[in-house]
Subunit: 346 residues, 3 copies
Amino acid sequence: MDLALGEIANLVGGQLSGDAGIPISGAAIIRDANVGDITLADKLQLANQLADCRAAAVLVPPDVTPDGVPFVTVTNVHASFAKIVQHFRPHTCNQPYGVSAAAHVSPTAQLGREVVVYPTASIGDDVRVGDGVIIYPGVRILAGSRIGDNVTLFPNVVLYENTVIGNRVIIHAGAVLGAHGFGYETVDGRHKLSAQLGYVVIGDDVEIGAGTTIDRGTYGPTSIGEGTKIDNQVMIGHNCRIGRHNLLCSQVGIAGSATTGDYVVMAGQVGIRDHIDIGDRAILGAKCGVMNSVPADSVYFGYPATADREQLLKQAALSKLPEMRKQFKALQRQVAELAEKFNDAA
Amino acid sequence: MDLALGEIANLVGGQLSGDAGIPISGAAIIRDANVGDITLADKLQLANQLADCRAAAVLVPPDVTPDGVPFVTVTNVHASFAKIVQHFRPHTCNQPYGVSAAAHVSPTAQLGREVVVYPTASIGDDVRVGDGVIIYPGVRILAGSRIGDNVTLFPNVVLYENTVIGNRVIIHAGAVLGAHGFGYETVDGRHKLSAQLGYVVIGDDVEIGAGTTIDRGTYGPTSIGEGTKIDNQVMIGHNCRIGRHNLLCSQVGIAGSATTGDYVVMAGQVGIRDHIDIGDRAILGAKCGVMNSVPADSVYFGYPATADREQLLKQAALSKLPEMRKQFKALQRQVAELAEKFNDAA
Amino acid sequence: MDLALGEIANLVGGQLSGDAGIPISGAAIIRDANVGDITLADKLQLANQLADCRAAAVLVPPDVTPDGVPFVTVTNVHASFAKIVQHFRPHTCNQPYGVSAAAHVSPTAQLGREVVVYPTASIGDDVRVGDGVIIYPGVRILAGSRIGDNVTLFPNVVLYENTVIGNRVIIHAGAVLGAHGFGYETVDGRHKLSAQLGYVVIGDDVEIGAGTTIDRGTYGPTSIGEGTKIDNQVMIGHNCRIGRHNLLCSQVGIAGSATTGDYVVMAGQVGIRDHIDIGDRAILGAKCGVMNSVPADSVYFGYPATADREQLLKQAALSKLPEMRKQFKALQRQVAELAEKFNDAA
């Protein structure tokens, strides 16, 4: 599978600077590259790391000209590098279309065209699945759910009853959509589960990470807007309404009935209180704890979270607090001495 | 499935104010209601939102009298609304009692009466399952486990060896009970796993959320007391003893050998240190980090967590710190000037 | 299965102090011990709790001499106690070697000797599995993965394509290795998933907790070094390189392309920013948020995390801030009075 560097330049339509005959045996990022690999440097600062890298050649954009190593110049470094990686490590999964005889599909379920259902997957009563859907082993789709076209459900994904999934959605292994919300009424010292009659609705082009959980609404939907991307181990509570094109990083937790606008970004481990609203394009810093609604176009961080300017002032002041404490004690002494001198003088 | 508003009033035994003939085609909360839906307003402040709501009618308690929209008055709004929602979206899952031929049940396992076991579920050697238990697809019950009556195990739940589950327990999809504890002894620079001979014991009426993990004890049980409710993605470490009727919200983490009393509440993302004790009825605020034992009947929050009064004072002082810093510098200047004047005068 | 205390002393090669004929019916830690049990006290402070314990006897190390209860002295208390527990609660799982006819193994997969594959497990095309591997129900190994010798994969573990697992690795239920990284490029207001061509590499003797997720690299590996132990619900992002013999506690989150040295310890709920480096033997306190690289041999905690000394000073100063605020106001008044008096005098 080795390629000469000239062949690689041809493969990606790039401009070669160096010996076309150099044999290339793999492709890896600078940190991981071995002798014989081609690597990539998508910005100048990475090009500076090439001196310590064992790669035989490097892929670069037009504005990067590396020193002392053969290079191939292309306009889109990442798309080109992906093409090279795929040459060396081609995708090996070739499951033909069709429903495995070892899958468990209800007779009342309806499947579209060009669908793949792997062994041990379960599809319940009255489920409808669109065209071009891939359902990996161990996926559980409970009764009444609706799956759009060109959806991929990775192994062991669970969709509870009546889940609605849009088109081109990707859900990673072990994610759970539609479990009961965490809503209880305490009667005579016992916590009684509230109504759990709702479901989950996922918009088109949403991607959901491994182990993420999205609870059903109380009476109606918990919904995720079109184009929103959700990382692994995110928790979204019952009745939440998440807007379009959000980016929710890993281990974010959003409590029940909270809403977000469009293009909201939450960094890792952010926590959002129940029943608050996060405005369009708000950015919430890693690990922040949001206790009140956040206006559109704002940047919040900290615990409790506040607007970034306020938080920066607080944290700067806190950093200098131990020093200020010393100065304060010195000032107390100075004032005491001054007062004494004044009294003596008086 | 449409109902006239009068029929709805009859269905829930309510008092109608408005035209009994209005056709109702669905039920949804105010935020989600469409034309033709009935909605609910369980308190006065929600009634004020009805003006902007497209619902055709509203369900209210006796102390709420909405303006300009037909309404039905009932004593228990939520129970009645649930009944209406169920009329419009009836439960579709009708699995008959019985063990699927495509389930994998050990010949030494014993199952009670009126049990449902879906295809692909696994039940190991010497497992005992009570009456009225529902075991969804992909559930794995390892050898020696004991399941009480009327338990529901949602898809892909995993119970390791010798797990003990009480009556009326609900465990949501992907939860894992009984994995090894995170206890290591470091010998010659290598971490060696300690004994993992214990198991998990779950009391009656406990509910456990999706993706939650509860590790086995070292030699004996990790236990969850009767009536305790645990949300999604909660982590409970080895040897913990959780009391009765606790509410543990999403993404809480409790380290090994910690204990809690009864009626403890932990909000989302709380972290509890190992080997500490949380007293009866303690309330721990969202995201707090608890490093020491907490007395009964206290409210703690913050990181590190302290009693609420102390934390409020700290946070208030911190909020004013940037201002105080300015004032402090001004005071330093003032004292310096005063000292100079005094020296000049002396 | 009862044993006389003398038989127990023989079982563990210990020195008996007390009546050899006392019947022992179980083994439990002090907190859980019932009448007739033997318990253990591995340090003096535990021996003091024996007065309130119902155990009939206690296992102790040579430097602990309990009062008023029969005891057995041994050199390694935990190994000996484990042996006793195993007598009373023997391991019941006796799956014979072999591949279940109800497992789904690709004809192109290659399995080693003495392998156990339970029903409903899935093994994809071109997968290679070493000797002595145990694959529990519901495990999904996708195409091209390589599993070393003596590996245990607990129920419902998911390995995406091309995952590489070393020898003696243990992966707990529901863990997911190789899902897509959370890397997007935003084009015309839509988030477009970046290349997802990499995979996950796990070193020898690594242990991975339940529900943990480790994402694949962009072009190459996300890697976990030899001997590292990872607790439940940990999240490791794409392209991370975790060193050897790390201990990563529950609910830790490590963002993409971060690296760690050897013997790093992260307590529960720690968050690590993307693209930073954690030095050898660094210790990161529970729940800290690390925003910058951390030097070797340092101890960091807090949010944002700093070196421990700096953080202790900050937190101490913050604790005294409410008091300091009062004193500051008093000092302001005092200076104002002093200035007034001085002016009056002048």
